[in-house]
Amino acid sequence: MGESGVVETLGWAAQDKSGHLAPFKFTRRATGPHDVKMKVTYCGICHSDLHQIRNDWRGSVFPMVPGHEVVGVVKEVGSEVDDFKVGQLIGVGCMVHSCHSCESCDNGLEQFCPKVVWTYNSVDTDGTPTYGGYSGELVCNRKFVLRMPENLPPDAAAPLLCAGITVYSPMKHFGMTEKGKSFGLVGLGGLGHMAVKFAKAFGLKVTIFSTSPAKEKEARGILGADEFILSTDKEKMKAAEKTIDYIIDTVSAVHTLDDYLALLKTNGKIILVGVPESPLQLSPTSVIFGRRFVGGSLIGGVAETQEMLDFCGKNNITCMIEKIPMSYVNTAMERLQKNDVKYRFVIDIENTLTSE
């Protein structure tokens, strides 16, 4: 216990929208009374890291240290922190602050708080920019620190903090948990493979809709999907119409919503968790006939993230990852751009973060 001074930290940052990442020295705040200081061991690479280092969503502020799937151990706790201990395995996800006095915060939906501060590329309450987990250390308010299950390999657990919660939250909220029901997954990437894992854990019958025939073998063999349909196969898509209870749509490119709405039974739902930049077209008849709906969902609140982590610990659920050294990160970004990863890159910060 005890507060230290401002700490110089090493991270990797992009300096402009070329997105090229390189070593970057910066400072983290002193550990305040309510803070937890974390020595980072692993950090997952999220597709939104790629978007933001390239300023795809506009609003990127450089230099930018990305990373919001951050796992590590407690190095120091503030004087008011009694629920975390030095040496404990912890994680930090996409948020580091919210107002805790609005309807969203009261409902455990900090991600919708108008004053939410993101783990990186955001402005903290003291006016300083937030820097993420592609770095050696992180200081975070205890309200946004999560307990990682001790039985899960920390590197394979890191992507739970964004990819995991991003699909777990809507699956729970929208009731996609009824054993025996038919679940559809569109897009088999980082988010998608987690959705399949959770769906199987909930006892659902899983059909994957993908544009990549190469993914079928693993989808069935390793992830346990029951069906795999190429979305370009018009005949199979037609045969699947009105057979699915609910769909999670992870696709981040423009695509035809109507094709997937047609797959839903009456009262069916499709929830978007990917964010194509351009508008999608929706035929009203696709939702009116059959009383279906299209919704969206954004990560998850802190309490439900903890609930998900505990669930994963109990059920031995982690992500399928490719662990990489820090120096590989730019190549990883290129490969991620081409969807060339099964299914999440995780940076071995502990062993490979250097100033080279």
Binding site: S104, L109, F112, P170, H173, L257, D258, T266, K269, L272, V273, G274, V275, P276, E277, S278, P279, L280, Q281, L282, S283, P284, T285, S286, V287, I288, F289, G290, R291, R292, F293, V294, G295, G296, S297, L298
Partner: protein
């Protein structure tokens, strides 16, 4: 009480108005209905509301029109005879028939009282029954329907003003209940102030909600506030007024039947807000995914309502004296009414008077 008419096997002669082609122009039309069966209710039609979908189908807009077509699915009349197996109705009852006249009653949707989603559902007009008979609607003097698709009309409601409840009313009522858009004190938005829209305002106020109307017509504001009780009125082309409504609404019913972008309206929803589409534009609408994702919002659709919930709605309307704002015209003026409807020149539903027909 039930009895089988002694002329049970004779087709029933009916007088109505039908279109012969996609001009949609209607003219007097004599036709017959099949003899009423054991489960059928026969009614003398007093009034039939004009629904915007009548206009679409008369003109072949949806590519599936069959002629001659007698439209009309907001039918109110008096029972003149009932089949031997009919238990819910008796001669003299004031009853209504809405958009459906058949469903399979052997599927998940039918079991749940959601006949409108039954794969085998048959529409009141411009459709075909399992035995091959073409269905003809309520712009006619006599209607025959299976009792499963007939509802009681509360006696205290004026028959003409009650007729549009059978389509416009239930189309709004059903999603408002299903999606929980009936929370006292909640902020409710109605997009488009026509037949459907004005019912949404009425139900919204009846459920104790704060109601904002979005419309392209500034001229509708006075009546929206004074007659319908809307709390707020926003002209949707007024960017400033739209921005002022950002993140303020819990729910929206969207009745617009032309192509538009959903995004300005989605912006007015709070997080976890819901929009339900009930209008049927022919073209696709634009949705920005980030609108849905960044606030966990949803865009749903809904189609009329099932029979049980139609009865519940009518009961509610009877208790709370809710009917539609109508302009009633003799059925002979149906073509004039259609022209005016095509120009949105109606407050807010035309109702055709079938009693005006000289027998």
């Amino acid at each position: 009480m039930s009895r089988m008419g002694s002329d049970a096997h004779v087709p029933i002669e009916v007088f109505g108005y039908a279109a012969k082609d996609t001009t949609g122009h209607m003219s007097p039309f004599k036709f017959t209905r099949k003899p009423a069966g054991a489960e059928d209710v026969t009614l003398k039609v007093h009034y039939c509301g004009i629904c915007h979908s009548d206009l679409h189908q008369l003109r072949g807009d949806w590519g599936n029109s069959k002629y001659p077509m007698v439209p009309g699915h907001e039918i109110v009349g008096t029972v003149t005879s009932v089949g031997s197996a009919v238990s819910k109705f008796k001669v003299g009852d004031t009853v209504g028939v809405g958009c459906m006249v058949y469903s399979c009653h052997n599927c998940d949707s039918c079991d749940k009282g959601l006949e409108q989603y039954c794969d085998k559902m048959v529409w009141t007009y411009n459709d075909v029954l399992p035995d091959g008979t073409a269905t003809q609607g309520g712009y006619s003097t006599i209607m025959v329907a299976n009792e499963k698709f007939v509802v009681h009309i509360p006696e205290n409601l004026p028959k003409d003003a009650a007729a549009p409840l059978l389509c416009a009313g239930i189309t709004i009522w059903s999603p408002m209940l299903y999606f929980g858009m009936n929370v006292k004190g909640a902020k409710f938005g109605v997009v488009g102030l026509g037949g459907l829209g004005h019912m949404a305002v009425k139900f919204g106020k009846a459920f104790g909600m704060h109601v904002t109307v979005f419309s392209t017509s500034p001229s509708k504001e006075k009546e929206a506030r004074e007659l319908l009780g809307a709390d707020d009125f926003v002209v949707s082309r007024d960017e400033e007024a739209m921005n002022a409504k950002a993140k303020s609404l819990d729910f929206i019913i969207n009745t617009i039947s032309v192509q538009h972008s959903l995004n300005p309206y989605l912006s007015t929803l709070k997080s976890n807000g819901k929009m339900c589409l009930v209008g049927i534009p022919e073209k696709e609408l634009s949705v920005l995914p980030v609108q849905l994702v960044a606030g966990r919002k949803m865009v749903a659709g809904s189609l009329i309502g099932g029979m049980k919930e139609t009865e519940e709605m009518l009961e509610f309307c009877g208790k709370n004296n809710i009917t539609c704002l109508v302009e009633t015209l003799p059925v002979a003026e149906c073509n004039t009414a259609m022209e005016r409807l095509a120009n949105n020149d109606v407050k807010y539903r035309f109702v055709l008077d079938l009693d005006s027909v000289q027998q």
